[in-house]
Amino acid sequence: MIHAHDIRVRVTAIEEVAPRTKRFRLQAVDSSHLPQFAGGAHITVALGDDDGALRNPYTLSGSPQDRVGYEITVLRAADSRGGSAFLHEQVVLGQEVSISAPINLFPINALGRRHVLLAGGIGITPFMPITEQLIDLSQKFELHYAMRSDGAAPYETLLRSRLGHRLHVYRSDLRERINLESLLEGQPLGTHLYVCGPERLIDGAINAGKALGWPGENIHFERFAGPPPGDPFEVRLAKSSKAIAVGQHQTLLEALERAGVEPPSLCRGGACGQCEIPVIKADGELLHYDHFLSEEARSSGRSIMTCVSRFKGRELVLDF
């Protein structure tokens, strides 16, 4: 499904930057400048042979100064529902794809006095532009980068030369672990923490912050768990009176977009709350996979986050 505001880009470089990890460079087909972005922003990429039936969010990992091309760095996920597999195996140099304009749900806080960045594996991507920006702004920061082994995660060498002593690497093959409490303890007032990586790392950082009395306002994180695949199901839309089939590897959101009803969305990762749609009837079980709805909201079954959540049962009717 091509969206009105999509940008047509061409893949102008593909490079393997770590095992199972490729960097793609995207430039506008009409050679125009791309919209400006700040570190932490992501774009949505329309994927799949089938006219982009899948739309995945990918963090921009290139330089915010580069107006000619965007870069994304993609790990080939083992349990991929097709997005990263498609990029890794089907996309070739010169191919055209559609992307959205950048959206930033993980920006650095301009009023912060100091910034502690925490990355796990492929979670390093937003910190590539962010560190560049922090250096430009002469801000105080440190980057803590956890990875499996030497060379297992991208950009370590580049970051070493860019950051020097501000980079701290932790390798789990050497049994090096980030001690989150001691990392956060004693950080001066006005410090902000940014975490991107596996759930475990994010939850660990949030808990360590809480245990030390940190205000939630100073802890920022980006979860990049993709939407889980599941059984196909059907959804009926009350307002637009349409019946839509949601495929096994498709999200409810993608199915709605494909049907041309323009549902709202932003993060596409179950975090921002933008894609919430009220449920009129659910004769079956709502499978909530988001991080947005409260426990009560979930069990009330009054709404569903279409970007990640699914349905199992006889009939689902949405107020849309």
């Binding site: 006095r113 001066p188 007032l189 030390l212």
Partner: protein, 204 residues
């Protein structure tokens, strides 16, 4: 006790009340006037360990003769500091904030003008206003900035007030500046300076 009426202005802060922040290593509590009573309640609800981590900066303001400070001091031996004015309190607060780390959490209670100044100072140290615990106590008096001469006035209780710096009659708007910790005073009836409506006591 007077309570702050809800405002249509988004800029107007809300003051949800004081409660202890779990995990904080140091509780930096600031209060003026009747805010002492909110601090008293807070301290009475705490165990010894929590109290050991607290430090209080207090200025009695208009409540001086009520002697609240004397009730607070025994609850925080060695950590209860009384100041003759908001300015002297803020000077000390600035020193405390310079030394503080992320496990130091800030509390402010008392008049709106006082809390506003504490929050504005803390913001300069990178503290998000939302992370400061606040509770309004005492007078609804406003701290007002004259938008014309930029002078500040504390303890304004009326809807219209003559600027103590430039003398212009000001209408006290509901518009609050978080950066300044003050409400805006705008010239009354700018066309005909002689026709000034009577001032009403709105913020007792």
């Amino acid at each position: 006790m007077p309570t702050i009426p809800p405002s249509l202005y988004k800029s107007r802060p809300v003051y949800p009340g004081l409660s202890w922040i779990a995990g904080a290593r140091r509780h930096l509590i600031t209060a003026d006037g009747e805010g002492a009573l909110a601090v008293l309640e807070l301290l009475n609800s705490a165990d010894q360990e929590t109290r050991n981590r607290a430090i209080l900066l207090y200025t009695p303001g208009g409540s001086k003769q009520l002697g609240h400070g004397a009730k607070l001091a025994p609850l925080l031996p060695g950590a209860c500091h009384e100041f003759p004015s908001i300015e002297t309190l803020l000077f000390r607060l600035n020193v405390e904030l310079t030394r503080a780390n992320m496990s130091t959490r800030l509390y402010a209670t008392g008049t709106e003008g006082f809390m506003g100044q504490v929050i504005a100072l803390a913001q300069g140290h990178g503290v998000n206003p939302l992370s400061v615990k606040t509770e309004h106590r005492g007078s609804l008096a406003r701290r007002v900035q004259c938008v014309h001469c930029k002078g500040f006035m504390d303890g304004v209780t009326t809807s219209i007030v003559a600027c103590s710096h430039c003398g212009i009659s000001l209408f006290v708007r509901d518009h609050y500046s978080r950066r300044l910790g003050a409400f805006q005073g705008v010239i009354v009836n700018a066309e005909v300076a002689e026709e000034i409506p009577a001032a009403e006591e709105l913020y007792p």
